[in-house]
Every structure is written in structure tokens, then in C-alpha cells.
Symmetry: C2
Subunit: 328 residues, 2 copies
């Protein structure tokens, strides 16, 4: 049911850049990297000046919404960040590969990666049946883990297996309390909102039939996530989704890119591409409720931001912040 | 050099809906449909109540920017509109097929269409050499015509042949004075701005290399036009273009859709799809000037509107107007 950590540790690069960073940290701040944001915050400002640009920027927990196809081979920026924010070498990671039809293969792949990085404990929660979500062993693991990683696959499958289960409830609540870092890539990202894009098309004027909407896992209920975003030309489908639910915020995440939701109500971008914010806060009109399924939509007054690496978005202020412009 | 009107008139549908409309007009208002906007404006309000929903909405001149692949067979809404705004049965139309590598074929196709509608005069200005643009016969025709139609093809070819020629100067100035209706479809639409999208890609995060910019014919200098817009997933390339020229307005026009620029500083949408307005008037930041050609762009604070049939946009107020919401 739970498959235990493989011998991947045997392949670990003990001299990796990340390990050096942790050692540097320990030299200046004789406390172990900790998962509770409040304990870290006071020191993080000082600590960062010792870190290189490509090193993990924080050890605070976060909800990491990844656009799919994240780098698993070279710099592994996003996966390293997940590892770091899950407690680095103290991390106890749960991998949920249930979106995939090949959960064993994809689960093992991430297990090897996090093992190479040096995580203390890794379990693959190979859930193929809703009843497994009540298993006391699994429940106990997610109650004590420091990071949860949901892989890609089919978001409908993932929701079908996990929605409204005790296991998912524990994961969601611990993530929202900042006790764990929760990451989802591709299908694992799609499920983050209360409303979820189950599928859709491209190459058409925005219209109701361009996007199939259903209910997600409600981890960040306020957003509607779309992934592989510009790579698969999904702007029109996200606009169509937002026309249907203009009380939500549209978040389009490119491949190998992560929208990192931190406990302070901001999002930060890491990775190679962009995060698109579609804010309907000032929407003045949409004909969504009036028109046929394939009729073109009218949508007045969306606010649109394209964020790239290190840019931030503040959900309270509904404003982007760009380190590049000097005002952060 | 100029090919004269073919025998297409033989195929004309004299009993067409449009002809009936014109007859209706003549019954109530015993003046000929006229090209000068100011002469028509006073009566147009009253006149519209007699017209059905699918009939041409106005006989005022306009600049018609068409997203390509406009209906040439069934309702022909956009082409009928061009015909009506060029003077209906009094129209003297110049077809410029020079964007195309098969100008004779495409020119004949439009000649047949406008002939069937009942235009009084139609000439194909088959310009294949810049010197032809100084030809006194052609010059005389564009000085006296009532409508000019630029076909699709390659916008670089069209600009290469027409830019900075006496013929183009006459067309542009007459269009801007409201003396003629000027339409361009696909490549013929792309050339409308001072800056022109010469080519580009899709399926990528917005980036500088995603769009090739050059100079257009400057008919509506304030805008950057992109055509076949949602059909070819061109949102990211138009955003990249606007990041380069944030003093312009981005106008993305879907296939079989027309952004109808009227003399009063408004645009109205007709046709099947949508017109996307990308307004950088409140842009707070872009890293466009700082980043490498393929680096992802940051763009803060674009305003985005999706307009469908009958919606309007007011360029002075920078605001959309939606008949569907009751406030127009």
C-alpha cells in the first residue's frame, strides 16, 4: 500500500550545491532549517545575502503550483525548492502519484530525485482506491510528513480518488496552516482551486464550450489554475473559465514554472517561464450567462499581468511587484 | 495594368436582402446612400429602426480591419457591410490583391463577390511593382473610388509594394478623412498600424523573439493589429508586441470578424468571433528592454477586453461598451 523509500539514497550527491547551502546556513545560524514559517522569518532576511542567485530562496513552507514538465535533470530549481521548503535533509516527503495511470513509475521517479537530494524520509502514497484514503498508516504519514508532492496525470482521476477523503482533509489543512509544503505539478496543479479546469480546447474565440469546469480539491479555493499555459495556448480557455466564475482569480502557469503561494498572501514566480494573472476584480460585463455554448464571449475589463522569475503578486493588494523595477 | 470589371454582374442576385434594404431606405429617405459621414449621421438613427438585425447597420464610411477568412459564401456579413459602406449600388471599389502571390485569382474572387452585390464599378489594382503606384490611371481611380479592399497574403509583400507610394498616400488620406471605406483582411489587416507584426510564433511564454516587428502602412498608427487571432493562438505574440511598444493599443481580430473603426473614434465588432483589446495605458512595468531575446517577459497591468458582435470600444474614453448590458 505504501511503498517505502528505495535505495535511491545510494545515488545521492552528498556534495551537492544544496547541501553546501545548508551547511553555510548552519554555520551562521546554529538552528536547524525549520518548517514553521514564523520561526524562520526573522532570520531569513539576513540569511539570503549569503545565498547565490540559483539557490533556494527560502525554507518557509509554501503551496507550490507547478505548470508541468518541471526540470528533473539539470538545475531542478523547482524540485530543489520543494525539497528545501519541506525541510531539506530533515524532509519527510509523501509522493501522491494517483493522477497518473502509471503511478508506480512516476512515483519512483520523484522518489529517486528527492532521495538524491537527501530527504530523510520519502513514501509513495500509491492510492488507487478511495478506501485507501482512510488507511491509518497513510493517515499517520501525512500527519507527520513535512512535504507532499502530487504528480501529473489526469486531474479528474486525482480528484475522483482524493476529494472529500480524510487523507486529503489532513493534507489540505496542514498545508493551509503552513505546517507542510504542498506541491502539485500539471494535473496536481489543476486541482488546487475550488473550481477546476477538467479539460478544454484552444484555437477558438473564447466561448463557454472551450473549457470544461468541475470541482477541484479546494486547497487554494480563490483561484482557477491552468497549467502548461502558454505552451499549450490556453489563454482563451482560462478567460472562458473566468467569465464563468468572475469571483475567482485566473492563474495560468507555464511549463517548468512555479507559482509559489506563501503564507503572507503573496505568490512568487520561480522557474523558466511565466505565470499569468487574470484578475476579474473590476469586470464590468460578460455575456456568459446569456449566450449559447459556442457563441463568442464578451468580457469587459480584465486586468492581466505576466510575471516571470522572482516577480511577486500580492493577492490582498491585487498588485504585482517586480524586483526588476526597483520597487519590491 | 488595371483589369476592368468582369462580367460578374451577370451573376448578380438582384433580389438579394441587401438590395431590398436599399430600396427600403430609398422609400423613406429620398436621398442616395452617401459616402460622407456627416451627411448621413443625422438620419441614421431613424433609419436603423427599419433594418433587420442581420442587415448592414450603417452606410457611414469606416476602416474595416478583418481578421481573415471572412465569410465569402453565405451571409457575407462583413463583405456586405464593406459594400454598403462603400456606397452600395453606387460603390466604385478598388481591390488591391498585392499581398497575395496569386493576385489575379484572389482579385477575381472579390470582384465576383462585389459584382454580385451590385457595385457600380470595380477595378483590380494588380500592383506587382512599386512603379505602378505612380501610374496616373490607378491614381485617378483611387482618387475617385468609394471603397478600397486589401486582400490577404503576405503583409511584408504588401508593405514592400505600397509603403510610401503616392497611391498609398491617397488611399490613407482619403480613408482618414472619411471619404472612402478602406478594408483589409488578414495581411491587409496586419498593415493597418504604424508598427506591424510581420510574423511570430505561439506555444511559448511571451518573449521578445516570439514576434517579428516592422513598419506597417500607418493607416491607424495608434494600433498594433494581429489577425486570425484566437484561431492561431496569438495572444502571447500580441502581448510581446505591446511590451515592445506600450504606447500602442493591441487589437487581436479573430477570423470572420471585423473591427470596424468609425469616424467618431470608436470601434464596433461585426462577424462571428471576437476582437481582443490589449490596453497598456496603465502599464506599470515591463522588463522588455532588459532581457534577452528568448527570456520570458514580465508585463504588469494590462487591461484586457474581449468584444463580440455589436460590442463597441471607445478609444478616447479607453472603455468598452456592451449593448447586451443595457448601457450603450
Amino acid at each position: 500500500m505504501m511503498r517505502t523509500m528505495s535505495e535511491a539514497r545510494g545515488n545521492m550527491d552528498k556534495g551537492s550545491v544544496y547541501t553546501s547551502v545548508v551547511k553555510l546556513w548552519e554555520r551562521f545560524f546554529p538552528i536547524a532549517p525549520n518548517l514553521v514559517a514564523s520561526q524562520i522569518e526573522a532570520t531569513s532576511q539576513i540569511e539570503f545575502q549569503f545565498l547565490g542567485e540559483n539557490m533556494p530562496q527560502s525554507t518557509k513552507t509554501a503551496i507550490m503550483v507547478i505548470g508541468g514538465a518541471e526540470d528533473k535533470v539539470h538545475g531542478r530549481e523547482i524540485l530543489y525548492n520543494f525539497f528545501g521548503r519541506s525541510g531539506s535533509t530533515e524532509a519527510r516527503i509523501a509522493i501522491i502519484p494517483s493522477a497518473s495511470r502509471e503511478p508506480a513509475i512516476i512515483g519512483d521517479r520523484y522518489l529517486t530525485i528527492f532521495g538524491e537530494m537527501g530527504a530523510k524520509g520519502i513514501e509513495i502514497l500509491d492510492i488507487r482506491d478511495r478506501e485507501q484514503c482512510e488507511d491509518p498508516l497513510m493517515q499517520s504519514y501525512v500527519e507527520n510528513c513535512t512535504g507532499v508532492f502530487m504528480t501529473g496525470g489526469d486531474q479528474l482521476r486525482l480528484c475522483g480518488l482524493l476529494a472529500d477523503t480524510p487523507l486529503m482533509k489532513t493534507v489540505r489543512e496542514r498545508a493551509r496552516r503552513g505546517e507542510i509544503t504542498l506541491a502539485g505539478t500539471s494535473a496536481g496543479a489543476a486541482v488546487m482551486g475550488h473550481y477546476m479546469i477538467a479539460g478544454g480546447g484552444s484555437g477558438e474565440s473564447p466561448n463557454r464550450a472551450l473549457v470544461d469546469m468541475t470541482t477541484g480539491l479546494g486547497i487554494i479555493p480563490e483561484v482557477i489554475v491552468d497549467q502548461h499555459f502558454h505552451n499549450r495556448n490556453r489563454m482563451a480557455r482560462l478567460m472562458s473559465a473566468i467569465a464563468a466564475y468572475p469571483d475567482r482569480m485566473g492563474i495560468g502557469i507555464d511549463e517548468d514554472t512555479c507559482a509559489l503561494f506563501e503564507g503572507d498572501g503573496t505568490l512568487q514566480v520561480i522557474g523558466k517561464g511565466t505565470v499569468t494573472i487574470l484578475d476579474p476584480g473590476e469586470l464590468c460585463y460578460t455575456n456568459h450567462a446569456k449566450v449559447g455554448a459556442t457563441d463568442p464571449l464578451s468580457i469587459g475589463n480584465l486586468r492581466l499581468h505576466i510575471l516571470s522569475h522572482s516577480d511577486r503578486y500580492d493577492f490582498q493588494k491585487r498588485m504585482p511587484f517586480f524586483p526588476g523595477c526597483g520597487i519590491v
